[in-house]
Symmetry: D2
Subunit: 337 residues, 4 copies
Amino acid sequence: MTSSGARGFEVVRAGHLELLVTDLAASKRFYADILGFVVTEEDSGHVYLRGLEDRQHHCLLLTKAASPGVGHIAFKVSSEAGLEPIEGLVKARGGFARWVGEGEEKGQGRALIVEDHLGFPVEFYEKMEPVDWMLQRYDRYRGAKVMRLDHFNILLPDAAVGYDWYVNTLGFGPTEITETEGPSPALWAAWLRRKHTCHDIALTTGKGPRVHHAGFTVADRGSIMDCADLLASTGYLGTMERGPGRHGVSNAFFLYIRDPEGNRIELYTGDYLSADPDWAPIKWKLNDPQRQTFWGAPTPASWFNDAMLVRSPRTGRFMDVSPPKIQDRPDYLLSAH
Amino acid sequence: MTSSGARGFEVVRAGHLELLVTDLAASKRFYADILGFVVTEEDSGHVYLRGLEDRQHHCLLLTKAASPGVGHIAFKVSSEAGLEPIEGLVKARGGFARWVGEGEEKGQGRALIVEDHLGFPVEFYEKMEPVDWMLQRYDRYRGAKVMRLDHFNILLPDAAVGYDWYVNTLGFGPTEITETEGPSPALWAAWLRRKHTCHDIALTTGKGPRVHHAGFTVADRGSIMDCADLLASTGYLGTMERGPGRHGVSNAFFLYIRDPEGNRIELYTGDYLSADPDWAPIKWKLNDPQRQTFWGAPTPASWFNDAMLVRSPRTGRFMDVSPPKIQDRPDYLLSAH
Amino acid sequence: MTSSGARGFEVVRAGHLELLVTDLAASKRFYADILGFVVTEEDSGHVYLRGLEDRQHHCLLLTKAASPGVGHIAFKVSSEAGLEPIEGLVKARGGFARWVGEGEEKGQGRALIVEDHLGFPVEFYEKMEPVDWMLQRYDRYRGAKVMRLDHFNILLPDAAVGYDWYVNTLGFGPTEITETEGPSPALWAAWLRRKHTCHDIALTTGKGPRVHHAGFTVADRGSIMDCADLLASTGYLGTMERGPGRHGVSNAFFLYIRDPEGNRIELYTGDYLSADPDWAPIKWKLNDPQRQTFWGAPTPASWFNDAMLVRSPRTGRFMDVSPPKIQDRPDYLLSAH
Amino acid sequence: MTSSGARGFEVVRAGHLELLVTDLAASKRFYADILGFVVTEEDSGHVYLRGLEDRQHHCLLLTKAASPGVGHIAFKVSSEAGLEPIEGLVKARGGFARWVGEGEEKGQGRALIVEDHLGFPVEFYEKMEPVDWMLQRYDRYRGAKVMRLDHFNILLPDAAVGYDWYVNTLGFGPTEITETEGPSPALWAAWLRRKHTCHDIALTTGKGPRVHHAGFTVADRGSIMDCADLLASTGYLGTMERGPGRHGVSNAFFLYIRDPEGNRIELYTGDYLSADPDWAPIKWKLNDPQRQTFWGAPTPASWFNDAMLVRSPRTGRFMDVSPPKIQDRPDYLLSAH
């Protein structure tokens, strides 16, 4: 990967996420009171949330809608001037792009929202309003003590097409890769980063376009286990879908949660520094039993079957999905289809 | 419960366990090098192990045998003079009892081994050789950093018969109880203690006499997760049967392990003080989904199906087992029979 | 030690503590909102608090008074009938004893309060009203997540006199002992237990009668560090007197706190099981630098100089104090006198 | 800060450190056996060590020498071609620069070592031999479980001169800043980063050129406390100089260690992501008692007085040091001078 600005723009990191929810109050309660997100601002249709480590307006936007799903994922870029070249690249591939005025999304400067040729609603922005840092306001710590957004995990029928876009055009670097078995292995999934962590986005083979989950960073394993205890004590037992456990890929400690609307997030901690441009991607085989869960615990079928639909910024409707071009789960789980 | 010595003896606590193993070297490697037990002594047929907190010769005895299983479980009593009345009580119920000479089991004083009327091989002893305390020898900490033996969990066809023996005759106190559903609930399982923790022995309805597991105390949740990482790194992935997770009963954080022979132990931490004689048992219903795993994760069928056979001190052969008198698992797991 | 009831009574454990405070609201805020004690009940002059693990009415009673200090320490006994023989033993040594009617201290049955011949106000009681268990109400966890009372640490001019009373008369067992240096070492401090932990009471040489601190159990090291972060974020920076750190004696991880009135408590976790009647006391030398802080960090002078005065149940005034009969701190701290 | 390559080179991160030690075997024992560094390679004069997370040959080089101190600090750059412009910039300021051949330092490609105009020996390199990743080899975890190098902290008489060099010439970005008190505050210290953490280098006012410490990342607070327990158990009690504790600046949890030669390292965990180019530096005042230790514990005088001398790559002798131009510690510590 190159971090130079040769392409006229620089993506900085996964920036924020818009989740669609039918019951705004219930979702606010879940994310703020239980998981511990900080409420920056709210209005009748939106709740803007951030993590304890965040210094900008929001990393999670809850928007009232008729059905749950994803409004958009968003990347922060290093300068507003970098948005124009992105518009050009999106349109050159037949994608849709629309400018978002300053403040149209609260706290955010002028931005570009696109429906890329992969079918995903992606917002690019530089400016976001500074807010108080809660990192040393330990009196505000509660629940999972969510620190910040870490990454998106998206499903698409052909991961290789997504890889080309994110790596060769948007300048992401691959940290880990999963390939199918056999003599001519195909790319099955890729973990790609701009910031110096394991990833900002993971591309996984599956029925898509869909967003599998958004990962949020917590401080340590204890935070995740405390959160599990809390969910089990507050009527949210059914929200714990998978984990706690250790990933093979990323080495992170995790808990997957289905929020009250069924949207999926991951609590995530303990990956690694990936600052080096000469980082050689770590390779995994699809059927390696320790790839997904280092401790070998089986992944529930719902984790493979379910994901969040994405709303088209062009039509305002959820995108139609297409089946994966290759198998979308390890052999040992094919029967769970 | 009464802790008075009115019955002529006082059981102090779960003392140690004899596990039968076919490959002594492999088991020593697993328990000492991986899990972190301290080797006190060994000979061609035995390895005597203890925890970091132990001040006596052993809490786990590995004995070479033709098949895996349990040689005996053992309780420490408060005085050697208390062994005689126990002999009387066992024989009065038709059990078998035999005296074990000082040093017959290394490090141990004169003891009584019985086959109680429930069919279990149980040793009672007072004296055991003092050894160096490793609690502040942090250079000896490794693996799961096992501290000490905590409890036995045994399966018997009729838990109520076991309850009468342990509570009314041996003076154990119940801390928690599980009952079957319905208008006339039956005792399904009981957690009984002499020392001031959740339990020294748990009696569970099931095909028996068998020992389901022995629980060993570790310092904290981190020790259990570190152990899971270690097992997953050293070729012992398949030994993790259930967990890590939080129990409903006992509130402890746990990991169940099947050792290389298939014998089952539990790593266990975070129960509570139960010193009060007026402790009212906490009651659970068999079908409560949070009873076994507070976080709701399903218990694998093997956990219900498998347990360790017990070797008769009378015949030297494994005891025959009988089916449970009532259902031996929650309704939602009956299909997993 | 013997746990038999030969003496006609059995002390069960350290039961609760009455702290005198001048500003009841401020102390309630500190103990409940910051440290995480659960409020069971309150009136104009008292706040009754308990830990998350407690199943009885209170383990900490805050009482409005003209000056901070200790109203009484209290031990739970195994039966109300055991209170009479204690009254006799106290009076036989010239102590004062008074009966406390049921409900006189809220939630408590008939009790005996004494001023023992050591000059300390000590209450003995059996019955205390059962309350909801918060151990699995993780939504109630906050601050230091205090679990329960663990022990008292008291200062008296002659530790040996106290040792005789607690061990030979009240039936406590010594788990650890500190002796002075030299050819004829004197008892300097003793850690004594009834419940199966390191101690219910520690006797330390010093100006007395005074209570040095009450120790409260928390679940793990993380709880103590989270509490330090919280105190540092909420204007209570100055309350942290010593630690976090590891003790040599007890092996516990600790933080000493001076509450807003100057009363001292300890957050405490990670000692050991001491159930065995044949436990041989662990011996330390006064000048061992790892005795107090296993990591060697110096103990501040205030920790040696300051302690809580005790209110006489006979006069209602604070007891006069006498100087220690031997040196009251290690040689390396004598200059800090 | 800009991460563009406009200046013809890009520093990637703090790369490695050469410590001079008189007893190579003793230092290897300390760093490898106790702290848990992985030995990559060694010869009669050197031991090359890395962290569990490292994928390149070494992050710590121990070199046998007549006196302890620092041989060089080193930064990884994004391409070998970027070394030439750095040479030019160093020489333009009157510094010394020398090329280091491939393999001259084992595992390292062609490099540039300089004595910059601040008087520090700094190596720049791109290539370093890939080695096995131990991140998921939990069987190799021991001691502090050191993950990787995080940062250098250097002392120089005039921090502002260093700031100009690192920020305006080498392209580092400031994350936090400490200023002196008063109406015209001077820069007292700065935390500067290239990788997306709190810092790669901190510049502090003090007698210099000296290196105050190198910070190494560990996984969590537990790793630091486990290390403290281990040091206290293995005869290294005196190596713990300050902590464990929480920093105000960086928010990291820390322990400062003086190795057996007196060289100082920091175990460090829990800072934050600093990926955003529009990051506004966080400002602290020199006398803020929570700046250095968020929990308020005093910093020992040795921490301010002592630091490591640096060996000139030009002369092979330690650099002479000059006094700081402004006060080198908070007012409340001036008396400890």
